[in-house]
């Protein structure tokens, strides 16, 4: 049973470990949102309407046609909702970078949970004289309280449940969301077919460089510079100017928005088609254009990249091959 009392198929959207930007991107499709309303009954969407988890739990399995799930799996509440919405949904879409590959929340996979908690509750910028730490369970006169418990490793959605479609981006571009909604509406009216299960939707199959209009020539880099220290030429490839740009490894689909605005690609659309490990691909691209054959000089040039893991896995650590640092895996400070 997928149709509600008014005959419309049901739609849900949920945020796990995320920032809320994906929800804004959906609302940013302007009048197209009316198509969503005209074709779907929105049954669960915490940012836009009031509904409780128990309402979802009460729904028959498979009763939601389409669920857009954004956010990574950081704690037991996220995992519970992923499993619940998987059960209730016919089509589950990993929506946005966090659900696809971990995004910013997964940079926590470089540190042990203990380090993260210690930093949050006991460093100099925290006013916590009694050294209070959150307790997962606490009894108050009104009853027992439970707050979600952190997992040592941030996971992508498909490391927890089966995902039908992947829609990358931080957030997915509104024109791509609109195109996907158009497609789904066509499918509902029998005018189109769904892509094969497991497909990446709402994105291109090439790289950001392929969509970028800047002029490209031979890349020879003697020094990596921070963007705040240079006046970038507006026409020439940003990487050629010595500023790290993630275009060579990143999936197309955004129309190279950032380079067009004078800012390097930071890689939010995730690995390009066929790339197994995003960071490794970017390391390969960046290292090969260094203009030196002398190990000492190469090392000096590489000092211009102060945080390689943070740079090359900015959006992708949970989705990478190693997935987390050793200290995160073992939950021991490095």
């Amino acid at each position: 049973m997928t149709a509600s009392s008014n005959g419309k198929p049901k739609f849900a959207m949920y945020w796990a470990s995320s920032c809320g930007g994906c929800e804004i991107a959906v609302l940013n499709i302007h009048e197209k949102i009316l198509d969503v309303d005209a074709n779907f009954e929105v049954v669960f969407w915490p940012v836009a309407m009031d509904a409780k988890y128990k309402d979802v739990e009460a729904m028959p399995d498979g009763s939601i046609l389409l669920t857009l799930f954004n956010g990574a799996i950081r704690n037991d509440e996220n995992a519970h909702m992923a499993q619940l919405l998987r059960r209730k949904s016919q089509i589950l879409v990993a929506f946005g970078s966090c659900a696809n590959e971990g995004c910013m929340p997964a940079l926590a996979n470089l540190s042990s949970v203990q380090e993260i908690i210690d930093t949050a509750y006991s460093t100099i910028t925290t006013d916590n004289p009694q050294g209070i730490r959150p307790q997962p369970n606490y009894t108050v006169p009104e009853g027992d309280l439970h707050i979600p418990t952190l997992y040592p490793i941030v996971r992508t959605l498909d490391q927890v449940v089966k995902v039908d479609y992947y829609m990358p981006g931080c957030p997915p571009e509104s024109h791509q969301i609109a195109a996907v909604i158009d497609l789904v509406v066509k499918v509902l009216h029998g005018e189109a077919q769904l892509p094969p299960s497991g497909s990446v939707i709402g994105a291109g199959n090439s790289t950001v460089c392929d969509e970028c209009t800047r002029q490209r020539d031979v890349k020879t880099i003697k020094e990596f510079k921070r963007i705040q220290h240079v006046m970038l030429d507006t026409q020439v490839c940003i990487l050629e100017q010595g500023v790290l740009c993630s275009g060579p490894a990143t999936r197309s689909g955004c129309k190279a928005l950032c380079p067009a605005a004078g800012s390097p690609c930071i890689g939010c659309y995730g690995p390009a088609e066929g790339v197994l490990d995003y960071g490794a691909r970017l390391i390969s691209a960046v290292a090969s254009v260094i203009d030196s054959n002398d190990p000492a000089e190469i090392d000096r040039i590489l000092d211009g990249i102060p945080d390689p893991a943070g740079m090359f896995y900015r959006f992708n650590l949970a989705g990478s091959v190693l997935r987390a640092s050793k200290s995160a895996w073992l939950n021991k400070p490095s």
Binding site: D76, A79, L110, V113, Q114, I117, R133, P134, Q135, P136, T149, L150, Y151, P152, I153, R155, Q159, L276, D277, G279, A280, R281, I283, S284, V286, A287, S288, I290, S292, N293, P295, I298, D299, L302, I305, D307, P308, A309, G310, F312, S320, V321, L322, R323, S325, K326, S327, W329, N331, S334
Partner: protein, 153 residues
């Protein structure tokens, strides 16, 4: 019988130099420990850093990358690219908690069978001292146990 740790090392060799050096070591009956599994590439420049990461994530304790001496690349200068990638990859792996000694770059020409064998012997001993890497993604079931473990705040 002592239970000595036998590291698993994946070795990437270049068709034009180090693969032949390994061959030469064999035909010259030079002995080196059997811990290294050699994979032949056409050039060290073919070595995508993904190969190294995949080897470590899949259970290898170390990776050996070999190529022609600087200036002697069959494809002019691809071994320099291998070197640059290696230096940047190593910095990244250190942040991931992988000891830099686990990934090693060695130049060995086709005539240097003895040198390759001695470098392999040295690397095996170094990694034996470091102990197993045991990256969690390499062991069935273990990952799920770690990642779903709840950590009290």
């Amino acid at each position: 019988m002592s239970e000595q740790f036998e590291p698993v090392i994946i070795g990437f060799t270049c068709n034009w130099c180090s693969y032949r050096a390994a061959d030469l070591a064999g035909t010259s009956r030079i002995k080196y420990p059997p811990n290294v599994r050699l994979i032949r590439l056409m050039c060290s420049g073919r070595l995508d850093p993904t190969f190294v990461i995949k080897a470590l994530a899949g259970g290898a304790d170390g990776v050996l990358i070999t190529g022609c001496h600087p200036g002697e690349c069959h494809y002019l200068d691809q071994n320099y690219k291998a070197m640059r990638r290696y230096l940047l990859l190593r910095r990244t792996l250190v942040q991931m908690g992988i000891e830099p000694q686990r990934v090693k770059l060695v130049w060995a020409s086709a005539a240097e069978g003895a040198r390759l064998a001695s470098e392999i012997t040295k690397l095996v001993e170094e990694i034996r001292l470091l102990g197993p890497l045991n990256w969690p993604t390499s062991t069935n079931g273990k990952v799920e146990l770690i990642e779903s473990m709840e950590v009290p705040a």
